[in-house]
């Protein structure tokens, strides 16, 4: 298997090149077929790698070539596939393949079909680089590459200025995080003399927590993760990123790219374990983000925006998990979240497809009968995200909450409340979309149809995964073995050794589970009574809302806050620099030099009378001056 590892990222790159070059000449079917097939081939190879690692328990480390070497500092272009990255590979290629398949149907009428698949393949390539790299530099290449692809795909319909702005916003926000990540890498190199995972981690594990500025390094890495994974305060780009085509939202902004931050922290777990202060910060940021985004999601009316804030909220959960030391739990949630959030996005895409591009839930409703497959699969996804057993979300979320409880009761309580919010807004979305009567135009109503099979098949597969995906991590308190934890154990071995094994009494764990499940069901019930029984529809844009609802609807005015706090002062500074420093200072100085030269020349040119006599006269004066000078110097010598 080792021999073919390099093919995993290379195949999507080949797809990018083929589709990029042939985007105008190849037929749509060919493009879709090539793109999907290559990703599927990568998936098959990933399965092979996964099975090998599962059986041998040893990571695969392959050096493709030596990239560059400066003195003692060598950067090999090498891949590391261990337990952690093999699962990421499965998610990326597996979910990626399903989404490619789905996109063939979804994007069928789009003019940029070839371009879309080329970008999508490129994204998969960079994402694979990110998770497969065996050092931070390769990860950084992938990190930047996915940011680029994200930018390209958010701005895919770039003729719409607001979409192009959203792309720019995502890019800029990501850059802020990237800078932190880069500084983190520099610090790692400074203190460990290497950026290869194996070297850094083994050195770090042997150190005392005061030997190196772990807190600083990890905080910098965390800043990178905050940018990429859309946490407070850099989360506002993710909801705007919904400007991209829905499959992009599903693949990049739900299942894979945004989890890169979690992957990176899980990968560097030993560094973070050495810095408990950073862990605390991560937990708090994650928790606040989870709650905050959930609050915003409560009142959104755009179906994709609801899902986007839900994604931010779930990512917050994952960071909470990382922060409280539940690396496995956080990663488990990455896995299940990839299934159900991709499912929900694709389902939403199917709905949008059916109602001719409408995204506002106020103009939907009653789609249950018209889109049965979409409805059932989305129901599965909704149940899964709400944390109702035995669907996938329950297990992963419960594991995080259990660890949060061990860490601090407050974290747990806030987490459960957020879980209730999650349940509420997800079912609200479901009810508004599929129940009641259709509220759109009659034209849209005539057009309603179930999506073609190449769109529904990925939905069904993902629905099955969302339903049963949780069983790989059934906790021991419920009579399971938590296969995932055992599988991942080697990756987190060093951290576990430092933190120690933490377990709760089974009774406590049952109570915690019961509380969160009951909370979710209660929220479900409230949503049912509000949106199905009373058929309460969110009011139109212009109408008055109660203060708190309005606050949530307007996203707590975060964008406006950033606008006032950061953009406007920057604008003012720019205007000041332009008007005062540039126009008055620099320009006047430069122009003054020019003008001074011109004026001086105007005066001086009068000396040039054009009269030969005066020229000679001046020449004589010059000769006299030279003679006098030499006379004086001779005199001085004597």
């Amino acid at each position: 298997m080792d021999k073919y590892i390099w093919l995993i990222p290379l195949l999507p790159l080949a797809g990018f090149i083929i589709n990029g070059i042939g985007r105008n000449s190849l037929s749509k079917n060919t493009i879709g077929f090539i793109a999907s097939l290559l990703v599927f081939a990568s998936f098959a190879l990933s399965v092979g790698a996964f099975l090998q690692i599962k059986s041998t328990g040893l990571p695969i480390n392959v050096t493709v070539f030596d990239w560059f070497a400066v003195d003692n500092f060598k950067v090999p272009f090498s891949f590391l596939v261990d337990q952690l990255s093999s699962i990421m590979l499965l998610i990326i290629t597996g979910v990626g393949f399903l989404i490619h398949l789905y996109s063939i149907g979804y994007m069928h009428d789009d003019n940029g079909f070839g371009k879309f698949f080329a970008y999508l393949n490129l994204f998969v390539f960079f994402m694979l680089l990110l998770v497969m790299g065996s050092n931070y530099l390769i990860m950084f290449i992938g990190w930047e590459g996915v940011g680029l692809c994200s930018y390209l795909l958010i701005g895919f319909w770039y003729t719409n200025p607001s979409y192009a702005d959203a792309a720019k916003k995502a890019f800029v926000m990501n850059r802020i995080g990237d800078l932190g990540f880069l500084i983190g890498i520099f610090l790692i190199f400074t203190y460990f003399g290497s950026i290869t995972y194996a070297d850094v981690f083994s050195k770090a594990a042997g150190m005392h927590s005061k030997d190196a500025p772990f807190v600083l390094i990890t905080l910098m890495l965390f800043v990178g993760a905050v940018g990429k994974s859309a946490q407070l305060p850099l989360f506002t780009w993710l909801p705007d990123a919904m400007a991209g085509p829905t499959p992009v939202s599903a693949l990049i902004h739900a299942a894979t790219m945004v989890t890169a931050g979690i992957y990176m922290i899980a990968r560097s777990n030993i560094l973070f374990t050495m810095a408990p202060d950073t862990m605390e910060v991560i937990a708090i940021v994650g928790l606040v983000t989870a709650t905050f985004a959930a609050l915003i999601a409560l009142t959104q009316t755009d179906i994709k925006k609801v899902l986007a804030y839900s994604t931010v909220s779930q990512l917050g959960y994952m960071f909470l998990g990382l922060g409280v030391g539940a690396y496995t739990g956080a990663f488990f949630h990455v896995l299940t979240h990839a299934f159900f959030k991709a499912l929900l996005f694709l389902g939403a895409g199917s709905v949008i497809h059916a109602v001719s591009g409408e995204q506002d839930m106020r103009n939907m409703g009653g789609l249950k009968g018209k889109l049965p497959i979409t409805f059932i699969t989305m129901l599965v996804g909704t149940i899964a995200i709400s944390g109702i057993p035995p669907f996938a979300g329950f297990f992963s979320k419960d594991e995080i909450l259990a660890h949060a409880f061990m860490h601090s009761t407050t974290f747990y309580v806030v987490g459960v409340i957020t879980a209730m919010f999650t349940s509420f807004y997800m079912f609200r979305m479901l009810y508004l979309t599929f129940y009641g009567k259709f509220r759109g135009t009659t034209e849209q109503e005539h057009h309603l149809h179930e999506s073609p099979s190449n769109m529904t098949i990925p939905l069904i597969i993902l629905a099955i995964l969302s339903a049963v995906g949780g069983f790989i991590g059934v906790p021991e308190s419920l009579g399971g073995h938590h296969e995932l934890e055992h599988f991942l154990a080697p990756v987190f071995e060093r951290s576990t050794k430092i933190m120690g094994e933490q377990t709760l009494p089974k009774n406590t764990e049952w109570v915690l589970m019961a509380v969160s499940v009951l909370g979710a069901i209660a929220a479900l019930g409230y949503a049912y009574s509000k949106y199905v029984k009373k058929a309460d529809i969110p009011v139109a844009e212009t109408e008055e809302r109660p203060a708190l609802v309005s606050l949530s609807y307007h996203k707590f005015y975060i964008d406006e806050l950033y606008d006032t706090l950061i953009r406007k002062p920057l604008d003012a500074l720019s205007v000041f620099l332009y008007k005062v420093v540039d126009l008055l200072g620099i320009d006047d100085f430069i122009n003054g030099l020019g003008k001074g030269t011109i004026e001086a020349s105007k005066g001086l040119r009068l000396l040039q009378t054009g009269n030969v006599g005066s020229y000679i006269f001046m020449m004589i004066i010059g000769i006299i001056a030279i003679l006098v000078y030499s006379f004086i110097s001779i005199h001085n010598i004597k």
Binding site: R605, Q608, G610, I620
Partner: protein, 109 residues
Amino acid sequence: MQSLTNTMQAVPLNNYILLSAIIFSIGVIGVLIRRNAIVIFMSVELMLNAVNLLLAAFSVYRGDATGQVFVFFIMALAAAEVAIGLAIIVMIYRNTNSIDINVLNRLKW
């Protein structure tokens, strides 16, 4: 000839230098005060001759023939210069109908 030369024995070198300087300065003044191009040209010739005389005097003083060879070259040069210069003056006169150098004031800006 021999007796003539002997009478020269006592003339100090300084006097030759002084004579050359005076004639050279007269040439300079001539260039400055006259506007007739031909007269200016003649003043230049005066200056050249002052230098020639000085070179010859030094040549004799040092007993080195090189100085006189130089005078010879300067004369050749002066002949060439005069030929060209006068041709230019004739051209100027044809074009402007004047050899007043103040008319030729295009050499500016």
